[in-house]
Symmetry: C2
Subunit: 321 residues, 2 copies
Protein backbone atom coordinates (compact mmCIF):
# COMPACT_ATOMS: atom_id res chain seq x y z
CA UNK A 1 0.00 0.00 0.00
CA UNK A 2 1.32 3.37 -1.01
CA UNK A 3 0.11 6.78 -0.14
CA UNK A 4 1.74 9.88 -1.57
CA UNK A 5 0.97 13.30 -0.33
CA UNK A 6 2.91 15.84 -2.31
CA UNK A 7 3.29 19.34 -3.47
CA UNK A 8 2.27 21.35 -0.48
CA UNK A 9 2.97 24.97 -1.09
CA UNK A 10 3.58 27.26 1.80
CA UNK A 11 3.93 30.99 1.36
CA UNK A 12 6.46 31.97 3.91
CA UNK A 13 8.33 35.23 4.56
CA UNK A 14 7.93 36.51 1.04
CA UNK A 15 9.34 33.40 -0.57
CA UNK A 16 7.63 30.31 -1.87
CA UNK A 17 8.82 27.12 -0.33
CA UNK A 18 7.75 23.88 -1.84
CA UNK A 19 7.63 20.78 0.26
CA UNK A 20 7.34 17.61 -1.65
CA UNK A 21 6.32 15.04 0.85
CA UNK A 22 6.54 11.41 0.00
CA UNK A 23 4.70 9.57 2.71
CA UNK A 24 4.97 5.90 2.11
CA UNK A 25 3.89 2.77 3.90
CA UNK A 26 6.03 -0.03 2.53
CA UNK A 27 9.58 -1.17 2.35
CA UNK A 28 11.03 2.28 2.71
CA UNK A 29 10.62 4.54 5.68
CA UNK A 30 8.76 7.84 5.50
CA UNK A 31 10.81 10.47 3.70
CA UNK A 32 10.50 14.19 3.25
CA UNK A 33 12.18 15.86 0.29
CA UNK A 34 12.74 19.55 0.15
CA UNK A 35 13.40 20.98 -3.35
CA UNK A 36 13.40 24.66 -2.86
CA UNK A 37 15.27 25.84 -5.98
CA UNK A 38 13.76 23.69 -8.70
CA UNK A 39 10.08 23.97 -7.97
CA UNK A 40 9.80 27.43 -6.53
CA UNK A 41 8.23 29.95 -8.86
CA UNK A 42 11.05 32.05 -10.22
CA UNK A 43 10.81 35.81 -9.86
CA UNK A 44 13.01 37.72 -12.27
CA UNK A 45 13.44 41.48 -12.22
CA UNK A 46 16.28 42.14 -14.68
CA UNK A 47 16.33 41.97 -18.47
CA UNK A 48 19.66 40.11 -18.57
CA UNK A 49 18.51 37.36 -16.22
CA UNK A 50 15.22 36.88 -18.03
CA UNK A 51 16.94 36.65 -21.41
CA UNK A 52 19.50 34.17 -20.12
CA UNK A 53 16.76 32.02 -18.59
CA UNK A 54 14.68 32.01 -21.76
CA UNK A 55 17.72 31.26 -23.88
CA UNK A 56 18.57 28.28 -21.72
CA UNK A 57 14.99 26.98 -21.90
CA UNK A 58 14.89 27.38 -25.68
CA UNK A 59 18.22 25.53 -25.94
CA UNK A 60 16.56 22.58 -24.21
CA UNK A 61 14.06 22.69 -27.12
CA UNK A 62 11.26 23.52 -24.70
CA UNK A 63 8.43 25.80 -25.80
CA UNK A 64 7.77 29.02 -23.89
CA UNK A 65 4.28 30.52 -23.51
CA UNK A 66 4.03 34.13 -22.38
CA UNK A 67 1.20 36.10 -20.81
CA UNK A 68 2.05 39.82 -20.44
CA UNK A 69 -0.08 41.65 -17.85
CA UNK A 70 -0.16 44.78 -15.72
CA UNK A 71 -0.86 42.59 -12.68
CA UNK A 72 -3.82 42.74 -10.28
CA UNK A 73 -4.76 39.40 -11.78
CA UNK A 74 -8.34 38.23 -12.08
CA UNK A 75 -9.90 35.17 -13.62
CA UNK A 76 -9.54 36.69 -17.10
CA UNK A 77 -5.75 36.64 -16.73
CA UNK A 78 -5.87 33.19 -15.16
CA UNK A 79 -7.72 31.82 -18.18
CA UNK A 80 -4.85 33.07 -20.38
CA UNK A 81 -2.34 31.41 -18.06
CA UNK A 82 -4.25 28.13 -18.24
CA UNK A 83 -4.24 28.37 -22.03
CA UNK A 84 -0.48 28.93 -22.00
CA UNK A 85 0.10 26.15 -19.50
CA UNK A 86 -1.65 23.66 -21.78
CA UNK A 87 0.22 24.56 -24.95
CA UNK A 88 3.84 24.87 -23.77
CA UNK A 89 6.56 23.48 -21.50
CA UNK A 90 7.41 26.71 -19.77
CA UNK A 91 5.01 29.46 -18.73
CA UNK A 92 6.13 33.05 -18.21
CA UNK A 93 3.94 35.78 -16.74
CA UNK A 94 5.03 39.40 -16.80
CA UNK A 95 3.66 41.93 -14.35
CA UNK A 96 4.50 45.49 -15.28
CA UNK A 97 2.32 48.59 -15.11
CA UNK A 98 3.62 50.18 -18.29
CA UNK A 99 3.89 53.95 -17.91
CA UNK A 100 4.17 54.56 -21.68
CA UNK A 101 0.59 53.41 -22.34
CA UNK A 102 -0.93 55.92 -19.90
CA UNK A 103 -1.41 59.56 -20.87
CA UNK A 104 -1.11 62.44 -18.43
CA UNK A 105 -4.30 62.55 -16.38
CA UNK A 106 -4.96 58.82 -16.73
CA UNK A 107 -4.77 56.38 -13.82
CA UNK A 108 -1.10 55.26 -13.95
CA UNK A 109 -0.42 56.15 -10.32
CA UNK A 110 -3.68 54.78 -8.97
CA UNK A 111 -3.77 51.66 -11.17
CA UNK A 112 -4.40 48.80 -8.71
CA UNK A 113 -1.37 46.72 -7.72
CA UNK A 114 -1.14 43.63 -5.48
CA UNK A 115 2.02 41.65 -6.22
CA UNK A 116 1.62 39.28 -3.31
CA UNK A 117 -1.81 38.11 -4.41
CA UNK A 118 -0.65 37.98 -8.05
CA UNK A 119 2.19 35.63 -7.09
CA UNK A 120 -0.21 33.36 -5.24
CA UNK A 121 -2.45 33.15 -8.31
CA UNK A 122 0.55 32.63 -10.59
CA UNK A 123 1.72 29.74 -8.43
CA UNK A 124 -1.74 28.23 -8.50
CA UNK A 125 -1.86 28.42 -12.31
CA UNK A 126 1.51 26.72 -12.64
CA UNK A 127 3.52 29.71 -13.81
CA UNK A 128 7.24 28.92 -14.01
CA UNK A 129 8.61 32.45 -14.09
CA UNK A 130 7.25 35.86 -13.18
CA UNK A 131 9.06 38.75 -14.85
CA UNK A 132 8.43 41.91 -12.90
CA UNK A 133 10.95 44.63 -13.72
CA UNK A 134 11.05 48.18 -12.42
CA UNK A 135 10.24 51.15 -14.64
CA UNK A 136 13.93 52.10 -14.58
CA UNK A 137 15.00 48.63 -15.75
CA UNK A 138 12.89 48.93 -18.91
CA UNK A 139 13.14 52.66 -19.64
CA UNK A 140 16.68 53.71 -18.88
CA UNK A 141 18.49 56.97 -19.33
CA UNK A 142 18.47 58.36 -22.86
CA UNK A 143 15.65 56.03 -23.98
CA UNK A 144 14.39 57.33 -27.33
CA UNK A 145 12.83 54.60 -29.47
CA UNK A 146 9.15 54.46 -30.39
CA UNK A 147 6.89 52.13 -32.37
CA UNK A 148 3.86 53.34 -34.21
CA UNK A 149 1.20 51.75 -36.42
CA UNK A 150 -0.44 54.03 -38.94
CA UNK A 151 -3.91 52.49 -39.36
CA UNK A 152 -5.27 50.24 -36.61
CA UNK A 153 -4.81 52.74 -33.73
CA UNK A 154 -6.97 55.29 -35.59
CA UNK A 155 -10.13 53.58 -34.38
CA UNK A 156 -12.01 52.80 -31.15
CA UNK A 157 -9.90 53.41 -28.04
CA UNK A 158 -7.10 54.97 -30.10
CA UNK A 159 -9.25 58.03 -30.75
CA UNK A 160 -9.63 59.01 -27.10
CA UNK A 161 -6.25 57.59 -26.01
CA UNK A 162 -3.99 58.86 -28.82
CA UNK A 163 -0.61 57.56 -27.59
CA UNK A 164 -1.92 54.50 -25.76
CA UNK A 165 -1.20 51.91 -28.45
CA UNK A 166 2.27 53.30 -29.17
CA UNK A 167 3.03 52.55 -25.52
CA UNK A 168 1.51 49.08 -25.79
CA UNK A 169 3.38 48.23 -29.02
CA UNK A 170 6.64 49.46 -27.49
CA UNK A 171 6.42 47.51 -24.25
CA UNK A 172 5.23 44.35 -26.01
CA UNK A 173 8.16 44.55 -28.45
CA UNK A 174 10.54 44.90 -25.52
CA UNK A 175 8.89 42.04 -23.62
CA UNK A 176 9.01 39.80 -26.70
CA UNK A 177 12.76 40.43 -26.99
CA UNK A 178 13.26 39.82 -23.28
CA UNK A 179 11.06 36.75 -22.76
CA UNK A 180 11.65 35.22 -26.22
CA UNK A 181 8.45 33.18 -26.21
CA UNK A 182 7.13 30.79 -28.86
CA UNK A 183 3.52 31.77 -28.08
CA UNK A 184 2.11 34.97 -26.54
CA UNK A 185 -1.46 35.17 -25.28
CA UNK A 186 -3.58 38.31 -24.98
CA UNK A 187 -7.17 38.72 -23.81
CA UNK A 188 -9.88 39.43 -26.38
CA UNK A 189 -11.46 42.02 -24.09
CA UNK A 190 -8.77 44.38 -25.39
CA UNK A 191 -9.74 43.45 -28.93
CA UNK A 192 -8.02 46.41 -30.57
CA UNK A 193 -4.84 45.74 -28.61
CA UNK A 194 -4.85 42.12 -29.81
CA UNK A 195 -5.42 43.24 -33.43
CA UNK A 196 -2.54 45.73 -33.16
CA UNK A 197 -0.17 43.20 -31.65
CA UNK A 198 -1.02 40.64 -34.33
CA UNK A 199 -0.32 43.26 -37.01
CA UNK A 200 2.88 44.47 -35.38
CA UNK A 201 4.18 40.93 -34.89
CA UNK A 202 3.51 40.24 -38.58
CA UNK A 203 5.05 43.54 -39.75
CA UNK A 204 8.18 43.21 -37.60
CA UNK A 205 8.55 39.46 -38.32
CA UNK A 206 8.43 38.29 -34.73
CA UNK A 207 8.64 34.49 -34.84
CA UNK A 208 5.95 34.27 -32.16
CA UNK A 209 2.43 32.85 -32.41
CA UNK A 210 -0.07 35.43 -31.13
CA UNK A 211 -3.16 33.90 -29.52
CA UNK A 212 -6.32 35.45 -28.15
CA UNK A 213 -8.14 34.29 -25.03
CA UNK A 214 -11.93 34.64 -24.77
CA UNK A 215 -13.41 37.30 -22.48
CA UNK A 216 -14.12 36.01 -18.97
CA UNK A 217 -17.21 37.49 -17.33
CA UNK A 218 -18.65 37.80 -13.84
CA UNK A 219 -21.79 35.74 -13.15
CA UNK A 220 -24.02 38.60 -14.33
CA UNK A 221 -22.00 39.21 -17.51
CA UNK A 222 -19.71 42.14 -16.63
CA UNK A 223 -16.35 41.59 -18.35
CA UNK A 224 -13.62 41.05 -15.78
CA UNK A 225 -11.21 43.97 -15.48
CA UNK A 226 -8.70 45.17 -12.92
CA UNK A 227 -10.46 48.53 -13.16
CA UNK A 228 -13.78 47.06 -11.90
CA UNK A 229 -12.31 47.50 -8.44
CA UNK A 230 -12.81 51.27 -8.82
CA UNK A 231 -16.63 50.91 -9.04
CA UNK A 232 -18.99 51.75 -6.18
CA UNK A 233 -21.87 49.30 -5.71
CA UNK A 234 -24.22 51.69 -7.57
CA UNK A 235 -21.73 52.02 -10.41
CA UNK A 236 -21.23 48.25 -10.45
CA UNK A 237 -24.94 47.89 -11.29
CA UNK A 238 -24.76 50.56 -14.00
CA UNK A 239 -21.63 48.95 -15.47
CA UNK A 240 -23.71 45.99 -16.56
CA UNK A 241 -25.12 48.16 -19.34
CA UNK A 242 -22.05 47.36 -21.49
CA UNK A 243 -22.75 43.64 -21.54
CA UNK A 244 -26.48 44.21 -21.91
CA UNK A 245 -25.83 46.49 -24.89
CA UNK A 246 -23.89 43.72 -26.60
CA UNK A 247 -26.56 41.14 -25.83
CA UNK A 248 -29.37 43.35 -27.11
CA UNK A 249 -27.42 44.22 -30.27
CA UNK A 250 -26.65 40.55 -30.87
CA UNK A 251 -30.36 39.80 -30.74
CA UNK A 252 -31.17 42.70 -33.11
CA UNK A 253 -28.64 41.44 -35.66
CA UNK A 254 -29.86 37.86 -35.34
CA UNK A 255 -33.40 39.12 -35.92
CA UNK A 256 -32.37 40.71 -39.20
CA UNK A 257 -31.33 44.30 -38.38
CA UNK A 258 -28.66 45.24 -40.94
CA UNK A 259 -28.30 48.95 -40.32
CA UNK A 260 -25.49 49.72 -37.88
CA UNK A 261 -26.79 53.25 -37.17
CA UNK A 262 -30.16 51.91 -36.00
CA UNK A 263 -28.45 49.65 -33.48
CA UNK A 264 -25.99 52.30 -32.29
CA UNK A 265 -28.75 54.91 -31.88
CA UNK A 266 -30.97 52.57 -29.90
CA UNK A 267 -28.08 51.47 -27.68
CA UNK A 268 -27.01 55.07 -27.04
CA UNK A 269 -30.45 55.74 -25.57
CA UNK A 270 -30.30 52.49 -23.60
CA UNK A 271 -26.91 53.25 -22.02
CA UNK A 272 -27.83 56.82 -21.13
CA UNK A 273 -30.70 55.46 -19.06
CA UNK A 274 -28.06 54.19 -16.60
CA UNK A 275 -26.74 56.50 -13.89
CA UNK A 276 -23.29 58.12 -14.18
CA UNK A 277 -22.66 56.74 -17.68
CA UNK A 278 -20.90 58.62 -20.44
CA UNK A 279 -20.31 56.97 -23.81
CA UNK A 280 -16.84 57.24 -25.33
CA UNK A 281 -17.74 55.21 -28.43
CA UNK A 282 -20.04 52.51 -29.73
CA UNK A 283 -18.68 50.99 -32.92
CA UNK A 284 -19.73 48.31 -35.36
CA UNK A 285 -16.71 47.51 -37.47
CA UNK A 286 -14.63 45.04 -39.45
CA UNK A 287 -12.90 42.65 -37.00
CA UNK A 288 -9.60 42.85 -38.93
CA UNK A 289 -9.24 46.42 -40.11
CA UNK A 290 -11.56 47.97 -37.45
CA UNK A 291 -13.04 50.15 -40.23
CA UNK A 292 -16.69 51.13 -39.59
CA UNK A 293 -19.32 48.92 -41.20
CA UNK A 294 -22.62 50.56 -42.12
CA UNK A 295 -24.49 47.54 -43.42
CA UNK A 296 -24.15 44.21 -41.62
CA UNK A 297 -23.79 41.33 -44.08
CA UNK A 298 -21.37 39.07 -42.22
CA UNK A 299 -19.71 38.77 -38.81
CA UNK A 300 -18.88 42.21 -37.37
CA UNK A 301 -17.20 43.42 -34.22
CA UNK A 302 -19.31 45.48 -31.87
CA UNK A 303 -17.07 47.35 -29.44
CA UNK A 304 -17.85 50.02 -26.90
CA UNK A 305 -16.21 52.15 -24.23
CA UNK A 306 -18.29 53.76 -21.51
CA UNK A 307 -17.24 55.80 -18.53
CA UNK A 308 -19.13 54.81 -15.39
CA UNK A 309 -18.37 57.55 -12.91
CA UNK A 310 -14.66 58.12 -13.49
CA UNK A 311 -13.97 54.53 -14.54
CA UNK A 312 -13.61 53.84 -18.25
CA UNK A 313 -14.82 50.34 -19.14
CA UNK A 314 -14.64 48.51 -22.46
CA UNK A 315 -16.32 45.41 -23.87
CA UNK A 316 -16.89 43.78 -27.26
CA UNK A 317 -18.56 40.89 -29.04
CA UNK A 318 -18.70 39.42 -32.54
CA UNK A 319 -22.22 39.75 -33.96
CA UNK A 320 -23.32 37.48 -36.82
CA UNK A 321 -26.46 37.90 -38.92
Amino acid sequence: MLVDFFTRLLYCRGKWICFILFYKYGNKPCSIQLWPEETIIKIVTTVKEMQARSESIRNQEKKIAFVPTMGFLHDGHCSLLRKGRLSCDDLVLSIFVNPTQFSAGEDYDSYPRDLEKDLQLAEKEGVDTVFTPTKEELFGKNFQTGIELTKLPRHLCGLSRPSHFQGVALVVTKLFNIVKPHVAIFGEKDFQQLAIIRQMARDLDFDIRIEGGAIVREADGLAMSSRNTYLSSEQRKAALCLYNTLQKSKKMVEQGEKNSSNIINEMTIFIHRHKETQIDYISICDPETLDDIDSINGPVLMALAVKVGKTRLIDNMILSP
Copy 2:
Protein backbone atom coordinates in the same frame (compact mmCIF):
# COMPACT_ATOMS: atom_id res chain seq x y z
CA MET B 1 47.62 4.91 -32.37
CA LEU B 2 45.11 7.20 -34.04
CA VAL B 3 45.64 9.90 -36.62
CA ASP B 4 42.76 12.05 -37.87
CA PHE B 5 43.04 14.35 -40.85
CA PHE B 6 39.79 16.17 -41.40
CA THR B 7 37.95 19.07 -42.83
CA ARG B 8 39.64 19.76 -46.13
CA LEU B 9 37.79 22.44 -48.03
CA LEU B 10 37.97 22.53 -51.77
CA TYR B 11 36.53 25.34 -53.83
CA CYS B 12 35.03 23.68 -56.83
CA ARG B 13 32.69 24.97 -59.55
CA GLY B 14 31.39 27.81 -57.40
CA LYS B 15 30.38 25.48 -54.63
CA TRP B 16 32.14 24.50 -51.45
CA ILE B 17 32.60 20.82 -51.06
CA CYS B 18 33.71 19.56 -47.75
CA PHE B 19 35.67 16.40 -47.49
CA ILE B 20 35.87 15.05 -44.06
CA LEU B 21 38.57 12.52 -44.14
CA PHE B 22 38.95 10.18 -41.30
CA TYR B 23 42.27 8.53 -41.81
CA LYS B 24 42.83 6.05 -39.12
CA TYR B 25 45.44 3.49 -38.30
CA GLY B 26 43.77 1.00 -36.03
CA ASN B 27 40.91 -1.38 -35.97
CA LYS B 28 38.85 0.41 -38.61
CA PRO B 29 39.81 0.91 -42.27
CA CYS B 30 40.38 4.32 -43.86
CA SER B 31 37.14 6.13 -44.73
CA ILE B 32 36.25 9.19 -46.78
CA GLN B 33 32.99 11.07 -46.16
CA LEU B 34 31.55 13.49 -48.67
CA TRP B 35 28.88 15.93 -47.36
CA PRO B 36 28.12 18.24 -50.24
CA GLU B 37 24.69 19.57 -49.18
CA GLU B 38 25.63 20.80 -45.76
CA THR B 39 28.56 22.92 -46.73
CA ILE B 40 27.28 24.63 -49.88
CA ILE B 41 26.38 28.29 -49.37
CA LYS B 42 22.65 28.45 -48.71
CA ILE B 43 20.51 31.08 -50.42
CA VAL B 44 17.28 31.85 -48.59
CA THR B 45 14.56 34.15 -49.89
CA THR B 46 11.64 33.65 -47.47
CA VAL B 47 11.21 34.82 -43.89
CA LYS B 48 9.86 31.47 -42.73
CA GLU B 49 12.79 29.46 -44.09
CA MET B 50 15.36 31.87 -42.67
CA GLN B 51 13.74 31.80 -39.22
CA ALA B 52 13.55 28.00 -39.23
CA ARG B 53 17.19 27.71 -40.25
CA SER B 54 18.38 30.16 -37.57
CA GLU B 55 16.25 28.44 -34.95
CA SER B 56 17.78 25.10 -35.80
CA ILE B 57 21.31 26.53 -35.65
CA ARG B 58 20.63 28.19 -32.30
CA ASN B 59 19.25 24.89 -30.99
CA GLN B 60 22.62 23.32 -31.75
CA GLU B 61 24.04 25.99 -29.42
CA LYS B 62 25.96 27.51 -32.31
CA LYS B 63 26.53 31.26 -32.47
CA ILE B 64 25.24 33.24 -35.44
CA ALA B 65 26.99 36.35 -36.78
CA PHE B 66 25.03 38.60 -39.13
CA VAL B 67 26.14 41.22 -41.63
CA PRO B 68 23.19 43.12 -43.17
CA THR B 69 23.97 44.84 -46.48
CA MET B 70 22.34 46.30 -49.55
CA GLY B 71 24.65 44.18 -51.70
CA PHE B 72 27.15 45.34 -54.36
CA LEU B 73 29.79 44.16 -51.92
CA HIS B 74 33.21 45.73 -51.69
CA ASP B 75 36.14 45.14 -49.40
CA GLY B 76 34.43 47.17 -46.66
CA HIS B 77 31.65 44.58 -46.50
CA CYS B 78 34.14 41.75 -46.77
CA SER B 79 36.01 43.03 -43.73
CA LEU B 80 32.74 42.82 -41.76
CA LEU B 81 32.20 39.27 -43.01
CA ARG B 82 35.70 38.29 -41.94
CA LYS B 83 35.05 39.77 -38.50
CA GLY B 84 31.82 37.75 -38.24
CA ARG B 85 33.50 34.59 -39.52
CA LEU B 86 36.10 34.80 -36.77
CA SER B 87 33.68 35.34 -33.89
CA CYS B 88 30.88 32.84 -34.63
CA ASP B 89 30.01 29.35 -35.89
CA ASP B 90 27.52 30.44 -38.52
CA LEU B 91 27.74 33.50 -40.75
CA VAL B 92 24.67 35.07 -42.34
CA LEU B 93 24.80 37.85 -44.94
CA SER B 94 21.66 39.65 -46.01
CA ILE B 95 21.42 41.42 -49.35
CA PHE B 96 18.39 43.67 -49.61
CA VAL B 97 18.12 47.14 -51.11
CA ASN B 98 15.69 48.52 -48.55
CA PRO B 99 13.12 50.82 -50.18
CA THR B 100 12.04 52.35 -46.84
CA GLN B 101 15.39 54.06 -46.30
CA PHE B 102 15.30 55.92 -49.62
CA SER B 103 13.22 59.08 -50.05
CA ALA B 104 11.50 60.04 -53.28
CA GLY B 105 14.13 61.43 -55.65
CA GLU B 106 16.95 59.39 -54.09
CA ASP B 107 18.74 56.58 -55.93
CA TYR B 108 16.64 53.52 -54.95
CA ASP B 109 16.04 52.44 -58.55
CA SER B 110 19.56 53.11 -59.75
CA TYR B 111 21.32 51.77 -56.63
CA PRO B 112 23.96 49.35 -58.00
CA ARG B 113 23.11 45.65 -57.81
CA ASP B 114 25.17 42.57 -58.77
CA LEU B 115 23.92 39.46 -56.99
CA GLU B 116 26.15 37.04 -58.86
CA LYS B 117 29.35 38.80 -57.91
CA ASP B 118 28.06 39.26 -54.35
CA LEU B 119 27.51 35.51 -54.05
CA GLN B 120 31.02 34.79 -55.27
CA LEU B 121 32.47 37.16 -52.66
CA ALA B 122 30.20 35.70 -49.98
CA GLU B 123 31.40 32.22 -50.86
CA LYS B 124 34.99 33.36 -50.69
CA GLU B 125 34.49 34.90 -47.24
CA GLY B 126 32.97 31.69 -45.90
CA VAL B 127 29.37 32.90 -45.59
CA ASP B 128 27.02 30.06 -44.63
CA THR B 129 23.72 31.65 -45.61
CA VAL B 130 22.72 34.56 -47.83
CA PHE B 131 19.28 35.97 -47.06
CA THR B 132 18.01 37.88 -50.07
CA PRO B 133 14.24 38.43 -49.92
CA THR B 134 12.07 40.37 -52.36
CA LYS B 135 10.51 43.70 -51.42
CA GLU B 136 7.11 41.98 -51.32
CA GLU B 137 8.34 39.32 -48.89
CA LEU B 138 9.35 41.97 -46.34
CA PHE B 139 6.69 44.63 -46.91
CA GLY B 140 3.42 42.85 -47.53
CA LYS B 141 -0.10 44.10 -48.01
CA ASN B 142 -1.43 46.29 -45.20
CA PHE B 143 2.05 46.87 -43.73
CA GLN B 144 1.73 49.72 -41.22
CA THR B 145 4.38 49.57 -38.49
CA GLY B 146 7.14 52.13 -38.08
CA ILE B 147 10.09 52.65 -35.73
CA GLU B 148 11.38 56.05 -34.81
CA LEU B 149 14.12 57.41 -32.57
CA THR B 150 13.60 60.89 -31.22
CA LYS B 151 17.16 62.18 -30.75
CA LEU B 152 20.00 60.54 -32.71
CA PRO B 153 18.44 60.98 -36.18
CA ARG B 154 18.23 64.75 -35.63
CA HIS B 155 21.87 65.16 -36.55
CA LEU B 156 24.22 64.72 -39.52
CA CYS B 157 22.64 62.72 -42.36
CA GLY B 158 19.24 62.70 -40.63
CA LEU B 159 18.85 66.42 -41.35
CA SER B 160 19.01 66.08 -45.13
CA ARG B 161 17.49 62.57 -45.24
CA PRO B 162 14.59 62.99 -42.77
CA SER B 163 13.00 59.52 -43.01
CA HIS B 164 16.18 57.60 -43.83
CA PHE B 165 16.90 56.29 -40.34
CA GLN B 166 13.29 55.28 -39.71
CA GLY B 167 13.66 53.03 -42.73
CA VAL B 168 17.00 51.69 -41.48
CA ALA B 169 15.67 51.04 -37.95
CA LEU B 170 12.62 49.27 -39.37
CA VAL B 171 14.46 46.94 -41.73
CA VAL B 172 17.14 46.14 -39.16
CA THR B 173 14.46 45.25 -36.57
CA LYS B 174 12.83 42.97 -39.11
CA LEU B 175 16.14 41.38 -40.09
CA PHE B 176 17.06 40.83 -36.44
CA ASN B 177 13.77 38.97 -35.91
CA ILE B 178 14.27 36.95 -39.08
CA VAL B 179 17.97 36.06 -38.78
CA LYS B 180 18.04 35.83 -34.95
CA PRO B 181 21.78 36.46 -34.67
CA HIS B 182 23.94 36.59 -31.56
CA VAL B 183 26.16 39.28 -33.08
CA ALA B 184 25.41 41.84 -35.79
CA ILE B 185 28.17 43.81 -37.50
CA PHE B 186 27.82 47.23 -39.15
CA GLY B 187 30.44 49.40 -40.82
CA GLU B 188 31.72 52.49 -39.05
CA LYS B 189 31.58 54.48 -42.27
CA ASP B 190 27.86 54.85 -41.55
CA PHE B 191 28.71 56.05 -38.05
CA GLN B 192 25.31 57.57 -37.34
CA GLN B 193 23.58 54.40 -38.52
CA LEU B 194 25.72 52.33 -36.15
CA ALA B 195 24.95 54.71 -33.25
CA ILE B 196 21.23 54.51 -34.00
CA ILE B 197 21.23 50.73 -34.22
CA ARG B 198 23.15 50.43 -30.95
CA GLN B 199 20.61 52.73 -29.28
CA MET B 200 17.62 50.96 -30.80
CA ALA B 201 18.95 47.52 -29.85
CA ARG B 202 19.41 48.75 -26.27
CA ASP B 203 15.99 50.44 -26.13
CA LEU B 204 14.10 47.49 -27.62
CA ASP B 205 16.12 44.92 -25.60
CA PHE B 206 17.42 42.95 -28.55
CA ASP B 207 19.66 40.23 -27.09
CA ILE B 208 22.20 40.87 -29.85
CA ARG B 209 25.73 42.22 -29.57
CA ILE B 210 26.17 45.14 -31.97
CA GLU B 211 29.70 45.49 -33.34
CA GLY B 212 31.30 48.10 -35.56
CA GLY B 213 33.83 47.37 -38.28
CA ALA B 214 36.54 49.93 -39.13
CA ILE B 215 36.29 51.92 -42.37
CA VAL B 216 38.10 50.27 -45.27
CA ARG B 217 39.73 52.70 -47.71
CA GLU B 218 41.10 52.62 -51.22
CA ALA B 219 44.90 52.95 -51.53
CA ASP B 220 44.61 56.75 -51.73
CA GLY B 221 42.27 57.01 -48.74
CA LEU B 222 38.79 57.24 -50.28
CA ALA B 223 36.35 55.34 -48.07
CA MET B 224 34.94 52.33 -49.91
CA SER B 225 31.29 52.71 -50.89
CA SER B 226 28.98 51.06 -53.39
CA ARG B 227 28.16 54.59 -54.56
CA ASN B 228 31.79 55.25 -55.63
CA THR B 229 30.84 53.43 -58.81
CA TYR B 230 28.79 56.49 -59.83
CA LEU B 231 31.90 58.74 -59.99
CA SER B 232 33.56 59.84 -63.25
CA SER B 233 37.35 59.83 -63.18
CA GLU B 234 37.38 63.61 -62.58
CA GLN B 235 34.89 63.21 -59.74
CA ARG B 236 36.89 60.31 -58.32
CA LYS B 237 39.82 62.70 -57.87
CA ALA B 238 37.64 65.37 -56.28
CA ALA B 239 36.09 62.78 -53.95
CA LEU B 240 39.39 62.42 -52.16
CA CYS B 241 38.73 65.79 -50.53
CA LEU B 242 36.61 64.02 -47.88
CA TYR B 243 39.49 61.91 -46.62
CA ASN B 244 41.92 64.80 -46.94
CA THR B 245 39.59 67.00 -44.90
CA LEU B 246 39.64 64.42 -42.10
CA GLN B 247 43.42 64.08 -42.26
CA LYS B 248 43.97 67.84 -42.19
CA SER B 249 41.53 68.28 -39.31
CA LYS B 250 43.17 65.47 -37.38
CA LYS B 251 46.49 67.26 -37.71
CA MET B 252 44.97 70.60 -36.62
CA VAL B 253 43.50 69.00 -33.49
CA GLU B 254 46.74 67.20 -32.70
CA GLN B 255 48.57 70.52 -33.05
CA GLY B 256 46.31 72.10 -30.43
CA GLU B 257 43.36 73.61 -32.29
CA LYS B 258 40.40 73.44 -29.91
CA ASN B 259 37.86 75.57 -31.73
CA SER B 260 35.54 73.47 -33.92
CA SER B 261 34.40 76.49 -35.96
CA ASN B 262 37.96 77.30 -37.00
CA ILE B 263 38.42 73.79 -38.34
CA ILE B 264 35.03 73.67 -40.06
CA ASN B 265 35.53 77.08 -41.70
CA GLU B 266 38.96 76.18 -42.99
CA MET B 267 37.75 72.82 -44.31
CA THR B 268 34.74 74.41 -46.03
CA ILE B 269 37.13 76.55 -48.06
CA PHE B 270 39.34 73.53 -48.73
CA ILE B 271 36.47 71.37 -50.02
CA HIS B 272 35.06 74.12 -52.21
CA ARG B 273 38.38 74.30 -54.01
CA HIS B 274 37.50 70.90 -55.53
CA LYS B 275 35.39 70.70 -58.69
CA GLU B 276 31.71 69.74 -58.55
CA THR B 277 31.63 69.57 -54.74
CA GLN B 278 28.72 70.70 -52.62
CA ILE B 279 28.88 70.35 -48.83
CA ASP B 280 25.86 68.85 -47.07
CA TYR B 281 27.42 69.09 -43.61
CA ILE B 282 30.71 69.13 -41.76
CA SER B 283 30.21 68.32 -38.10
CA ILE B 284 32.40 67.98 -35.03
CA CYS B 285 30.33 66.22 -32.41
CA ASP B 286 30.04 63.88 -29.46
CA PRO B 287 30.56 60.28 -30.69
CA GLU B 288 27.67 58.99 -28.54
CA THR B 289 24.97 61.64 -28.64
CA LEU B 290 26.12 63.27 -31.93
CA ASP B 291 25.49 66.67 -30.31
CA ASP B 292 27.73 69.45 -31.70
CA ILE B 293 30.92 70.15 -29.78
CA ASP B 294 32.27 73.70 -29.90
CA SER B 295 35.44 73.24 -27.88
CA ILE B 296 37.53 70.09 -28.36
CA ASN B 297 38.75 68.72 -25.04
CA GLY B 298 38.58 64.98 -25.68
CA PRO B 299 37.96 62.56 -28.53
CA VAL B 300 35.34 63.92 -30.95
CA LEU B 301 33.72 62.60 -34.08
CA MET B 302 34.32 64.55 -37.24
CA ALA B 303 31.75 63.58 -39.86
CA LEU B 304 31.00 65.04 -43.25
CA ALA B 305 28.76 64.56 -46.25
CA VAL B 306 29.69 66.06 -49.60
CA LYS B 307 27.99 65.79 -52.95
CA VAL B 308 30.47 65.22 -55.77
CA GLY B 309 28.47 65.77 -58.92
CA LYS B 310 25.23 64.01 -58.11
CA THR B 311 26.84 61.44 -55.81
CA ARG B 312 26.51 62.02 -52.07
CA LEU B 313 29.53 60.67 -50.18
CA ILE B 314 30.12 60.43 -46.43
CA ASP B 315 33.16 59.84 -44.27
CA ASN B 316 34.18 60.25 -40.63
CA MET B 317 37.03 59.93 -38.18
CA ILE B 318 37.61 60.20 -34.44
CA LEU B 319 39.90 63.16 -33.68
CA SER B 320 41.78 63.27 -30.39
CA PRO B 321 43.65 66.28 -28.99
